[in-house]
């Protein structure tokens, strides 16, 4: 699993593929205050991107990938 769902935190790692999107949305709906940790994430599939853009959860940790961080910081604020 490229996303590890903890109690109040979803930890993204490496490449988060298309198949994670549904689980991500469900988790975010169930945990409206859930935060996202992107530190070890290098890329998220567009399907996950649109989920994050729709829900706009709080980002607990920005991605270390500079380009991804740039994208997400503008899109998720």
């Amino acid at each position: 699993m490229a996303i590890e769902f903890k109690k109040n935190l979803a930890v993204f790692s490496d490449f988060v593929g298309v198949e994670e999107a549904e689980a991500l949305l469900e988790w975010l709906l169930k945990n409206p205050k859930g935060k996202i940790n992107l530190a070890d994430c290098t890329h998220i599939h567009a399907s996950n991107l649109q989920v994050l853009m729709a829900v706009k959860p709080t980002i607990a940790a920005q991605s270390k990938d500079e380009d991804l961080q740039l994208w997400l910081s503008t899109l998720l604020n």
Binding site: E22, H45, A46, Q50, V51, M53
Partner: protein, 891 residues
């Protein structure tokens, strides 16, 4: 290039030709459903095949063609001339792509746009008839605007609203002014793109040189719960200064989801900031404008800089002033833009650049006569205007004088003024003096002639308009379409055989066979020449002629042999032709048997005559099945015997001089000679005495005996007793031999030895009972003369001892049942031909040996075909018929 691609290209060309033909036929019979269906099938298959490779351009066009054909087939769209034209054009394009793939192995990047346009043209044919044209039109406008020259056709209100930071905007503006096009890209992935394995976000991250980028979520669902995460609702937007080709390449798979606009430099000039207060009053604006009119750019810059120091930098007016400075620096001649920007300070609203037209820019050029520009560099519109004015002046000058017979001074003067204006507009102010001089002359003469003469001579120096007198609107909107038409039209004419001919040629096998027969007859005819030389010498006594005939024969012989070799090579096929089916077969059978098999194929490139290869196919399958079924053990048995669980089956082809050797080697349990012996005895194949004294090797060879089978239960794989004897007779039919070696517990090696080609047979001619016969050289071991005293009689059989080995002797006359004794020579020696039959040496007594010859062996047909003792007949050089014996059957 891999063989799959090669095959695709060769097939695709056939399809293209087929499509072309069907379209032609449809033209004469537009309602034919079978033709239509066939055409659809062609396009459909071709599209499917192209999808195997990474040629998105080709697949895109073919896909559109397929959709169109499907619509035609279902009667949704009527067949029309236009439709055929579009399809043919698309197929020509595919042909061009294939040429490129063949030459370079890939498709150039420059085809992406053409592919999209062709696909859209084809699709528009479908939508035309559905009367849903608005969408189609929208799309086509977008696509044309993508093209360089057509960018000018975009109106200002079509441009996206840009909200950029001033520094970014200034940078982009500088880029655009310096000639690096800045593109606005809007990428709207299709909703179902996730199911195609696409990741639009990944693609978006690859866009190079972005100055600004954004993503928008168009969520249509009313609540988050209803959101469909697997349907893309994203739109990506970019501003990039990357080259168009690079962008085309990046989006080559999704060109229809891209909206690209080249942004004019001025579009970036957009002051931003606080508009609530402004320290700038009308006086300042008027003064600066005045300085601008007087061409005092330094003065303007100074004034603005002073003003900037006085005002807060975040004000809208400050931003606008900074922009004016940029304009002055980068576009000093563009007074209109500078003026407009300054004027905007009065209202504190961004200037409307769309009011800036060409004429404004032209005016600004005329005030700068210092810059000398070649006239050919002027925009087309300007040249067009120039010619219109000049032509009008010429017309005025050619008008007849008025009723009073005098030319009015005013008319001449106005013409001169117009001309001066025109020449100034194209930066040829030096002509002004000449025009003035001509005007003075004209006034003095009171005639238009001097001006007219000057005009005619001057016009020759001005470049002609290259654009024809079309409606300029059409010319700018459809430049791509016309260009393509020309290109494809040319291609159709250019398609000469030399340019596009494929390297391989498909030839009917009958033709090759006929060629083969002809060369055979040629060899026979050639062989007649030595006889002729002989006759010339012995019968007619002309020795010189005989020598010349022989010399000529040598030449013809050489050419004929080379020719024969070449034709032989045409018929050659690699054994991979039959080997390629084994991996699948072995896999299926081993699964069925629950065995593990590692198949190794070697020497697949070894070549042999097509007939040999084809004759080999069935026997090989038999052998491989046998090896799998009887040879290799179950994994547990193998492990117990200390072997790998997976059995190894090696099929190897190699060439040994003029024969192909095929070996099938397994490391299975081998053949137990005792088991074979007893099975053969049970089946009555051997008698008790044989059972006792038969050697192990001979026992193993019994598997080739007719009706032999060791399996007790008949399975679908083997056990019907028609195994190895069928293999042997099939191999012997093509003059091959088969052998087997086996070691119990270690494995079995089966080998087939086959001639490379069966076209020409080397035979030895022998004489017996005053007739001549041929014996194939490949079974002749040696020729000896056996003295009659060395011939022993054992019971009724004659034998002799040759180098310590007992060789049975048979008389050919007896074998042929002619009941005549063989003739010995003067020394009472019998000519004996030692032949190898079924692995044993047998001596055949004949009357006399003759020469060996190459002959084309023709199998006997009809009633004679039943004579097993003869393998065929051949024509000799002197015209006589040579019967070729088949000692295997004879003995």
């Amino acid at each position: 290039m891999n063989s799959l691609l090669e095959q695709f290209l060769s097939e695709a060309r056939d399809f293209l030709q087929g499509i072309g033909e069907k379209l032609m036929q449809l033209e004469s019979d537009p309602t034919s459903t079978p033709l239509m269906t066939e055409l659809f099938r062609f396009v459909h298959t071709l599209k499917g095949n192209s999808g195997l490779f990474d040629f998105p351009e080709m697949t895109r066009v073919l896909h559109a063609s397929e959709d169109l054909m499907d619509a035609v087939r279902n009667g949704r769209v009527g067949y029309s001339q236009k439709l055929a034209d579009e399809l043919l054009e698309a197929m020509d394009f595919v042909g061009v792509l294939m040429d490129e793939i063949e030459a370079e192995g890939e498709i150039g990047k420059n085809h992406a746009t053409t592919a999209t346009e062709l696909a859209q043209a084809l699709r528009s044919l479908i939508s035309d008839s559905k009367v849903s044209t608005p969408v189609a039109e929208q799309v086509s406008i977008d696509s044309f605007s993508e093209d360089g020259p057509a960018v000018k056709a975009i109106s200002w209100d079509e441009l996206p609203t840009l909200n950029l930071a001033e520094t970014v905007a200034i940078e982009l503006y500088r880029c655009a002014i310096n000639g690096d096009a800045v593109f606005w890209i809007e990428y709207t992935p299709e909703p179902e793109c996730f199911f195609k394995g696409e990741d639009p976000f990944f693609l978006a991250r690859q866009v190079p040189d972005t100055a600004w980028r954004n993503a928008i979520l168009n969520n249509t669902a009313s609540s988050l719960v209803e959101m469909d995460v697997f349907s893309s609702q994203l739109v990506f937007q970019f501003l990039t200064s990357a080259p168009a080709e690079e962008l085309d390449d990046l989006f080559r798979y999704v060109p229809d989801q891209i909206h690209r606009i080249e942004i004019p430099a001025l579009a970036f000039v957009k002051p931003i900031g606080n508009t609530d207060e402004s320290v700038i009053d009308d006086d300042f604006i008027n003064n600066t404008l005045l300085l601008l009119e007087n061409d005092d750019l330094d003065g303007v810059a100074r004034t603005i800089k002073t003003m900037l120091e006085l005002s807060a930098p975040e004000l809208w007016s400050s931003s606008a002033l900074r922009w004016v400075l940029q304009l002055i620096e980068l576009e000093p001649q563009n007074k209109a833009a500078q003026r407009l920007l300054l004027e905007s300070l009065r209202t504190l609203t961004p200037p409307d650049w769309s009011t800036l037209t060409h004429s404004v820019q032209i005016n600004s050029i005329t005030t700068n006569p210092v810059i000398s520009v070649d006239i050919s560099e002027f925009p087309e519109t300007l040249l067009r205007d120039f010619h219109t004015v000049i032509n009008a002046q010429r017309e005025i000058l050619s008008l007849p004088a008025n009723t009073s017979g005098e030319w009015s001074v005013g008319r001449l003067k106005s013409v001169a003024v117009s001309l001066i204006g025109c020449y100034r507009a194209i930066n040829q102010a030096h002509e002004v003096e000449a025009i003035d001089a001509a005007l003075q002359n004209a006034l003095a003469e009171n005639s238009p002639t001097p001006l007219l003469t000057w005009l005619e001579s001057a016009l020759t120096n001005v470049p002609e308009l290259t654009v024809t007198e079309e409606d300029p609107q059409i010319a700018t909107i459809f430049p791509v379409a016309t260009q393509n038409e020309v290109k494809f039209g040319r291609r159709v004419e250019d398609t000469t055989a030399a340019a596009t001919a494929s390297k391989t040629l498909k030839v009917d096998q009958d033709k090759i066979d006929r060629l083969m027969n002809l060369i055979g007859e040629m060899v026979v005819a050639k062989n007649a020449l030595p006889y002729l030389a002989n006759r010339a010498e012995t019968v007619f006594g002309v020795r010189d002629l005989a020598r010349e005939i022989k010399a000529q024969y040598a030449v013809i012989n050489r050419v004929a042999e080379e020719m024969q070799d070449t034709i032989m090579q045409v018929r050659m096929m690699p054994v991979s032709f039959i080997f390629q089916r084994f991996p699948r077969m072995v896999r299926d059978i081993s699964r069925k048997l629950g065995k593990e098999v590692e198949l190794v194929l070697e020497g697949e490139t070894t070549e042999a005559d097509k007939n040999i290869i084809e004759a080999l196919s069935d026997p090989l399958i038999h052998i491989v099945r046998n090896s799998l079924d009887h040879g290799l053990e179950q994994p547990d048995v193998r492990l117990a015997a200390g072997k790998n669980a997976a059995g190894k089956l090696l099929i190897r082809a190699s060439q040994e001089s003029d024969r192909v050797l095929i070996e099938i080697i397994d490391d299975g349990k081998g053949i137990n000679p005792d088991v074979i012996k007893h099975k053969a005895y049970e089946k009555g194949l051997i008698d008790e005495a044989t059972l006792e004294r038969i050697s192990d090797q001979d026992a193993v060879n019994l598997v080739f005996a007719a009706g032999f089978s060791t399996a007790d239960v008949i399975s679908d794989l083997s056990g019907r007793g028609v195994g190895m004897d069928v293999v042997r007779s099939a191999v012997e039919k093509v003059n091959g031999t088969v052998g087997i070696e086996s070691e119990v517990g270690k494995g079995t090696r089966l080998y087939l030895s086959l001639p490379l080609s069966m076209a020409v047979t080397n035979v030895m001619i022998i004489q017996s009972n005053q007739q001549i016969f041929g014996v194939p050289m490949d079974i002749v071991v040696e020729t000896v003369r056996v003295p009659s005293i060395h011939i022993q009689r054992i019971k009724q059989k004659q034998t002799t001892v040759l180098r310590g080995r007992i060789v049975p002797l048979l008389s050919l006359n007896d074998l042929l049942a002619s009941n005549v004794a063989q003739l010995p020579n003067e020394d009472n020696e019998f000519a004996t031909l030692i032949v190898r039959v079924h692995g044993e040496h047998v001596g055949i007594l004949v009357d006399e040996f003759r020469e060996t010859v190459d002959i084309i062996l023709k199998p006997m047909t009809g009633i004679l075909g039943g004579l097993a003792g003869y393998s065929g007949a051949a024509l000799l050089g002197d015209g006589s018929v040579l019967m070729v014996l088949n000692p295997r059957e004879l003995i």
